[in-house]
Symmetry: C2
Subunit: 193 residues, 2 copies
Amino acid sequence: MNFLEERIVKDGVIKPGNVLKVDKFLNHQMDIELFNEMGREFKRRFEGVEINKIMTIEASGIGIACIVAQHFGVPVVFAKKTQSINLDGEMYIAEVESFTHKCTNQVIVSKKFVNPGDKILIIDDFLANGCALQGLISIVHDAGAKVAGIGIAIEKGFQSGGKMIRNLGFKLESLAIVSSMDAESNTIEFMPQ
Amino acid sequence: MNFLEERIVKDGVIKPGNVLKVDKFLNHQMDIELFNEMGREFKRRFEGVEINKIMTIEASGIGIACIVAQHFGVPVVFAKKTQSINLDGEMYIAEVESFTHKCTNQVIVSKKFVNPGDKILIIDDFLANGCALQGLISIVHDAGAKVAGIGIAIEKGFQSGGKMIRNLGFKLESLAIVSSMDAESNTIEFMPQ
């Protein structure tokens, strides 16, 4: 097991319905040292890949993205899920609907902050069905920019998002890929990497 | 002018209705180097103050809080504005209403992550009327913890939030305090610090 898998086993909580709670260190309370270890690992996995910007989506992706950005020396843009007074001017808006109807989201980024020629690393905390990720990819392409890579903390390998994204040819690196989890026996297994 | 005031003058956009847009570097696209400079400055201003946790509120406070946390060597907890499946167990919920009716927010933190004896530095990007901040303070006190300090990037000094918080005796440090701004002449003035 790598450092993140070990941490999930230690501090994650498995709930019925394939819910994995990692609010102790990832998406409510945040362990900044762990985020730095993730940053070093993403830097290693994307060695030699040209990246000039990191993109993520509010809210829980932002902290990871900011710490990871330090290891790449690039700025971060975070996509919003709702239009607010903080957004004006022209925007890229991706409407994302899932076949499970579990997610219908808007993903919104100001046109000022994604430019043709940008080489973007997308960072997020979770990948399950991949709705948010699909919206982010769509916006990067709308802007004439390139998805240089996708870095995910925890992928639910038994859901379809990761497979689909890899089938499409994207360089997707998930630090922990859960292959199965069971609330009753409190067990979790990871795909070998 | 300090580094943040200079950056506001250079890259901020003043809009009618006392709206200051800083989406180029603070709350949509995020300049991580600038956040580190803010972290160093907060560390200097809170020198000698005992702090074991940083608290902020989603979404735009998260990035700043995570980078600032590195300078204090502490974890971050971010409050949520809506209840989600990521939240379970007992929660502190502050209902915050403003006299201007411009904000009615919930501020929600899991009870697991604020403990009696915690010495908490609250970090946020903006302070105007201070609704979100009032909710955060209320939760820290509900938990029997202490607000060790409050660090804000940009305070609108012509609104009441900052004055009220200082009147209450909190150690509030805002890196830039806007005393006036005018969209027509595109001018902004800061309070001397």
